[in-house]
C-alpha cells in the first residue's frame, strides 16, 4: 500500500515538476520577448499567456511555478523512497501531508482566480491542479483513519474533479457553446 502511494507520489511529483518547469521556461521567454506567444496559448480561453502575465501568477513576488520547481521534486524523491520500501517516519509523512494541504488550498485559490478573475485556462497549471489534489487526497487517506472515505476513495475524488469541471464548464459556457453549436 505504501508502495502504491509511492508510485502515485513519484508520478505526481514528476508531472508537477515537468509542468512547473514548462511554465518557468515559458515565463523566461515572455520576459525576454514581450511579443512571445506561449506554446500553450491555443485560443482565447485556453491561454496560459493571459494567466502567466496576471498579477495572480506572482502572488509572493516571484512567479508561482518556482514554488512547484522547489516542492514537486521533493515529493518525487519521497515517492521513490516509498517505492524502494524505505521506512519513512510518521512525522515525515505528516509533514508531506501538511505541505500538500497548503498546495491544495493554493490551487483552489488559483482555480477561482483563473475562472472568475482572469477568465482563461492554462493547461500546464491544470496539470498541477490535478496532481496536487490527487496526491493530497491519497496522502490524507494514507495518514489518517478515514474508513468511509477510504472505501469510496475514487468516487469522492471523481466528484471533486467533476465539481471543478462543472465550474469550468459553467464559467466558460458561452464559449464552449459556440464550439458545440
Amino acid at each position: 500500500m505504501s508502495k502504491r502511494l509511492g508510485w502515485l507520489l513519484a508520478a505526481g511529483g514528476g508531472l508537477g515538476t515537468a509542468s512547473a518547469a514548462a511554465l518557468t521556461i515559458e515565463k523566461f521567454h515572455v520576459l525576454a520577448n514581450p511579443g512571445y506567444v506561449p506554446s500553450c496559448s491555443i485560443n482565447p480561453i485556453v491561454s496560459c499567456g493571459s494567466v502567466m502575465t496576471s498579477a495572480q501568477a506572482e502572488v509572493f513576488g516571484f512567479p508561482n511555478p518556482v514554488i512547484g520547481l522547489a516542492a514537486f521534486p521533493v515529493v518525487l524523491t519521497l515517492g521513490v523512497l516509498l517505492i524502494a520500501k524505505v521506512p519513512l517516519p510518521r512525522w515525515v509523512m505528516l509533514g508531506l501531508n501538511a505541505g500538500a494541504a497548503l498546495g491544495v488550498l493554493f490551487v483552489h485559490w488559483l482555480i477561482f482566480q483563473s475562472l472568475y478573475r482572469i477568465g482563461a485556462l492554462c493547461p500546464y497549471c491544470m496539470v498541477v491542479w490535478v496532481v496536487t489534489i490527487t496526491m493530497f487526497w491519497y496522502l490524507t487517506l494514507h495518514n489518517f483513519r478515514l474508513p468511509v472515505l477510504r472505501k469510496y476513495h475514487s468516487a469522492v475524488l471523481t466528484v471533486w474533479f467533476l465539481v471543478i469541471i462543472g465550474l469550468i464548464g459553467e464559467a466558460f459556457w458561452d464559449y464552449w457553446r459556440t464550439l458545440l453549436l
Binding site: N43, P44, I45, A155, T158, G166, L181
Partner: protein
C-alpha cells in the same frame, strides 16, 4: 504510518467504489448532454430574422434584387481575413447589391461585444460604416486580448469625428447592449455555427469567404 493497521482498503470496497465512481461520471455526462440538447437553437427562424428594418446597411441596391447579409464579429480573425474581399465586392457592386451587416460577437472574444457596441454607438450617429472600417483595419491592434479595449474604441470614435459625450453614453447604454443582444439572438435563431456567415438572397453561402466565391454567388443571383 498506517503500517500498524494493515488495512487493504483499496481492495475491500473496490466494487462499490468503482460502481459509484462510474455512476457519478455517467450521471455527469448525461447532464451535460441534456443541457446541450435543450439549449440548441431551434432552426425555425423566419426570414425576418435575417434582415430587420433597422439592420445596418452598408449599401442599398436601387432595384433591391440582391441582398448579401454578413453576420460578423469584429474580433474574429476569419472575419478580418474576409474583410478585404468584402470591401472589394462592395466597391464593385456599389448600388447593385444591398449589403447588410449583422452583429454576432462570439462570447469567446473578450472585446467582440464591446466592439459591436462601439459600432452600434457609431451607427446612432450615422457613422456605422466608418467604425466598421476602423475596427477591421485595426483588428490586429486590439483583437485577441483578454483585457478591456474600450479606450481604443473611444480613440477610434474620436478619429471618425463622433460626438464623444454622446458616443460614451451610447456605448455604455442599456439600449445599445439590448440592440447587440437582439442581433445575436437573430443569429442564434438562424443556427449560425460561427463567423463570418454570409447569406446571399436568404441562402446561406456555403463556399469560401473569398471575393471570388462571393462574387460568383452574387452574379448567379443577379443573372436570375
Amino acid at each position: 504510518m498506517a503500517k500498524a493497521k494493515p488495512a487493504n482498503w483499496q481492495k475491500s470496497g473496490m466494487s462499490t467504489n468503482l460502481k459509484l465512481t462510474i455512476g457519478v461520471v455517467v450521471v455527469a455526462v448525461a447532464m451535460v448532454a441534456a443541457v446541450i440538447l435543450t439549449t440548441r437553437g431551434s432552426g425555425q427562424a423566419g426570414p425576418e430574422a435575417l434582415v430587420r428594418p433597422e439592420s445596418h446597411r452598408l449599401s442599398t441596391a436601387a432595384d433591391g434584387k440582391v441582398t448579401v447579409v454578413e453576420f460578423l464579429d469584429f474580433e474574429c480573425e476569419a472575419c478580418g481575413a474576409a474583410y478585404p474581399g468584402v470591401e472589394k465586392l462592395r466597391k464593385e457592386y456599389n448600388g447593385k447589391i444591398t449589403y447588410v451587416v449583422r452583429l454576432f460577437p462570439l462570447p469567446g472574444h473578450r472585446n467582440g461585444e464591446p466592439a459591436a457596441r462601439a459600432a452600434q454607438a457609431a451607427a446612432n450617429q450615422g457613422k456605422f460604416e466608418a467604425m466598421y472600417t476602423k475596427l477591421f483595419d485595426n483588428q490586429k491592434t486590439w483583437g485577441e486580448q483578454r483585457v478591456d479595449q474600450s479606450p481604443v474604441f473611444q480613440k477610434y470614435a474620436a478619429e471618425i469625428g463622433l460626438d464623444m459625450s454622446r458616443f460614451q453614453a451610447d456605448f455604455a447604454s442599456q439600449a445599445v447592449i439590448d440592440r447587440v443582444a437582439a442581433e445575436v439572438k437573430d443569429g442564434m435563431a438562424l443556427d449560425l455555427t460561427g463567423t463570418p456567415t454570409f447569406f446571399v438572397n436568404g441562402k446561406k453561402h456555403d463556399g469560401d469567404y473569398t471575393y471570388e466565391s462571393l462574387k460568383k454567388a452574387v452574379d448567379a443571383e443577379l443573372a436570375k
